[in-house]
């Protein structure tokens, strides 16, 4: 399998705190890779370094053979990295379809003049984007809700809409930050199946931050464990479950759904 994303000794420092410390990560094409770790382990910071929100102090992020750290986020999005957010960040006062249409932005090319003149090329593009956005809307299971403002959608629908928006630019790599946070077991199962189908149907490589171990163990091809900003283990779900360092640092006996804090306290 070819390597799609690679981080080389990526380090991000906030003041005196090293949030991400020399993390090496290799994700191959077509994989579902998970990043797990206790709260504050630096998972989201690593995501932010990959998607361009932060510029790491040290190290490189290599996507598709190109170094991308230091580029603006819109350039990185145009190269094919999309993401969702831990706390949902939709464009609240735009309709659901419009949210997805914004996701198509890197694939649209008409400037202010063609838009002003409504040239045939502009009409064509607009038509195409509307129909594609509605297809995506149906794909994530929000048919019939497309004209509602994003802020009026139920929680689960907002999570799905965020993924639909992220799929708009036809990404090669999708970063999902806690996609099942705040969901009940039933919704979680649906989301799990959905994530898998995104990979299978669209061929998108997915990196996942997740706390729900059932989800992580079920769908991941590769799991990386972060603790205090450092990668302490990496491997298949079975390897991770058997890894003494991980068990020591994190999982504990029978640790399927215990909260991070509780786990930590048990360790001490």
């Amino acid at each position: 399998m070819t390597t799609l994303l690679e981080t080389r000794r990526v380090t991000k420092v906030f003041g005196g705190l090293t949030a991400v410390n020399k993390v090496d990560l290799v994700v191959s094409q077509g994989m579902i890779a998970s990043i797990i770790g206790p709260n504050g382990a630096g998972k989201t910071t690593l995501f932010n370094c990959i998607s361009g929100f932060y510029n790491p102090e040290e190290g490189q992020v290599i996507f598709d053979g190109k170094v991308i750290n230091g580029k603006l986020t819109d350039r990185i999005a145009a190269m094919g990295i999309s993401r969702t957010y831990q706390n949902i960040r939709l464009f609240k006062n735009m309709s659901a379809v419009e949210n997805i249409m914004v996701g198509f932005e890197p694939r649209m090319h008409q400037g202010w003049l063609p838009v002003m003149l409504r040239t045939p090329a502009d009409r064509q593009e607009e038509k195409y984007v509307i129909s594609e956005a509605i297809k995506l809307l149906k794909y994530v299971g929000l048919e019939g809700l497309g004209d509602n403002l994003a802020t009026n959608l139920p929680y689960g629908a907002q999570r799905r809409l965020e993924i639909a928006r992220a799929l708009g630019n036809n990404p090669k790599l999708l970063l999902l930050d806690e996609p099942t946070a705040g969901m009940n077991p039933q919704e979680t199962d649906t989301m799990k199946a959905f994530i898998r189908s995104v990979r299978d149907d669209l061929g998108v490589t997915i990196i996942l931050i997740e706390h729900d171990m059932r989800v992580v163990m079920d769908i991941s091809d590769q799991i990386s464990v972060l603790d205090y900003g450092q990668k302490i283990a990496e491997g298949s779900p079975n390897e991770i479950q058997a890894d003494p360092r991980v068990i020591e640092a994190y999982l504990g006996p029978g640790a399927s759904a215990l909260s991070d804090k509780y786990r930590r306290e048990r360790q001490r």
């Binding site: 929100f53 419009e98 048919e143």
Partner: protein, 517 residues
């Protein structure tokens, strides 16, 4: 009903006491009474006070409101009639007591020969006597007290009536909307021709009105039109792309001055053609928008607001300064700016200008809608709602913000050029901060991001002060109060923006939907 309720009512009464005394002190009571009298068709002759019945009507109105609020405050479900009336009575009585006290103090001062007018310029002896219904301070005060108490009790009765009839209202409302959706109004609404006819009527009015309603209204409506232009421009910058730019007047000034400089005989004697000069003004403003945007659009929120605020002032002061006196004639301003010509004929009567402004407004509405209802408008909205995420979703935020500023500035430049041409003069004092604030207000009052909102807002903000001329010196006070009220009652604006319905209007899928796209 307990002590707490009585206390609440008394507090409510206190608020209204402050209102009544304040209005009396600034002399607004007399103005309001004469307005009421005028509404009923009886002119107030100069130098005399309006009739007492008008005063009673005004005080009774405030009393009703007082009782209404007091009774609402009991917050009972269901409302008990006795409690509501008691609350109204208590509140009205407290207000009345203060009115009595006020009457006693002011009346006694007056009868002891103290000229209160020295301290409060609006409090003339006549107005004091008027407030006391021509009686002695004590009996006048008691009239106030009883009026306040009785009208507040009636206000409470209104609440009871409202409470009892609300259910009935709801049924009527449902019936009405059901009828409206089923019967001929719905057919009318769905018929495309009705839309065309309505549009035709509006266009016809736009053609006829400037010829018929005289130069005063042409002037007022022309100003409204220019503010619509400015509003449409600022709406793109603030309402769509969400950049709080407070120095919008700078672009207005640049448009006005670049137009003036190339057409006026002084100081450069270029005498360019009107239409070319308009183009120059628009392009110059757009370019200035880009040039200013380049450094400052990295700022966000409050910082951007402050920097642009300063920028607006800098442009005005630069125009005024000795530094550019050779170019701009400094504080004197530029005179004899050219009016429009068409096929060599002058075209600058007030109705001609009105047509020009209407054309410009229609054109800008057309253009603004094209941009707003496209990928560009969506990108702007995305930026205004979450700039970080918009950029991470692939929106080139910097480019779009610059574009918004350039387009917005171009509209302001067009407005400025027409403004300068209509007045045949432009000077630094035409381009003060107040213009920016007015335009921002009209965008917010109308409804951010909505073009009909901008038009309504312009009428409300530039037209209403003209209509309120009756109120003379209280014009701005009333106007300010209306703004405050408006923002409390309807913070989303007069005509808030709605989003297009893409899914509803999309063609139905040809094939049965599958899993892949």
């Amino acid at each position: 009903m307990n002590n707490l309720h009585i206390q609440k009512s008394a507090k409510n009464g206190l608020v209204f006491a402050v209102i009544i005394i304040f209005l009396a002190l600034i002399g607004f009571t007399v103005t309001a009474a004469s307005m009421i009298q005028k509404v009923f068709g009886v002119e107030v002759s100069v130098g005399t006070m309006p009739k007492y019945s008008a005063l009673i009507a005004f005080l009774a109105f405030i009393g009703l409101w007082n009782g209404w609020r007091a009774a609402k405050q009991t917050e009972e479900h269901p409302l008990q009639a006795g409690h509501a009336i008691l609350a109204g009575l208590a509140s009205g009585f407290v207000t009345g007591l203060f009115a009595l006290g006020y009457s006693l103090i002011v009346g006694t001062l007056q009868s002891n020969g103290v000229n209160v007018r020295v301290y409060l310029s609006s409090l003339s002896p006549e107005s004091i006597i008027y407030f006391l219904f021509g009686q002695s301070p004590l009996s006048g005060g008691f009239i106030q007290l009883s009026l306040s108490t009785v009208s507040a009790a009636f206000g409470a009765l209104l609440v009871i009536f409202w409470d009892r009839s609300q259910h009935q209202f709801l049924i009527w409302k449902q019936k009405l909307s059901a009828w409206g959706n089923a019967s001929w109004p719905a057919k009318l609404r769905r018929n495309v021709f009705v839309g065309y006819i309505a549009m035709g009527v509006v266009l016809l009015l736009l053609v006829i009105l400037p010829r018929t309603w005289g130069s005063y209204w042409n002037y007022v409506m022309g100003t409204v039109g220019i503010y619509v232009l400015l509003g449409i421009g600022l709406n793109i910058i603030v309402g769509y792309s969400g950049q709080l730019v407070l120095g919008y007047v700078a672009f207005f000034a640049i448009g006005a001055y670049s137009f003036a400089l190339v057409t006026a005989p002084e100081p450069h004697n270029l005498n360019w053609n009107f239409w070319i000069a308009i183009l120059v003004a628009v392009v110059a403003s757009a370019i200035s928008g880009v040039l200013i945007g380049l450094p400052i659009l990295r700022l966000r929120g409050d910082y951007l607001a402050i920097v642009t605020l300063g920028f607006g002032e800098i442009i005005r002061i630069l125009i005024k300064s000795d530094l550019l006196k050779e170019i701009t004639l400094g504080p004197r301003g530029i005179r004899n700016i050219a009016g429009p010509t068409l096929f060599g004929k002058s075209f600058s009567s007030d109705s001609d200008f009105m047509y020009l402004i209407i054309l410009a407004v229609l054109l800008s509405i057309f253009l603004a809608r094209r941009w707003q209802e496209s990928r560009i408008g969506r990108a702007w909205l995305a930026i205004s709602q979450d700039e970080t995420v918009a950029q991470a979703t692939g929106v080139d935020t910097y480019k779009y913000k610059l574009l918004a500023l350039a387009i917005g500035a171009a509209f302001a430049g067009l407005g400025g050029a027409i403004f300068a041409s209509r007045n045949q003069f432009t000077g630094p004092e035409d381009h003060v901060l107040m213009v920016s604030i007015n335009v921002l207000c009209l965008v917010i009052v109308g409804g951010m991001g909505s073009i009909p909102g901008v038009i309504l807002g312009a009428f409300a903000l530039k037209g209403l002060p003209e209509i309120l001329r009756e109120l003379e010196s209280y014009r701005l006070l009333v106007f300010g109060a209306l703004l405050v009220l408006m923002m409390i009652v309807r913070p989303e604006g007069l005509w808030p923006a709605t989003r297009p319905k893409y899914e509803e209007n999309s063609p139905p899928p040809v094939t049965v939907e599958g899993g892949s796209r």
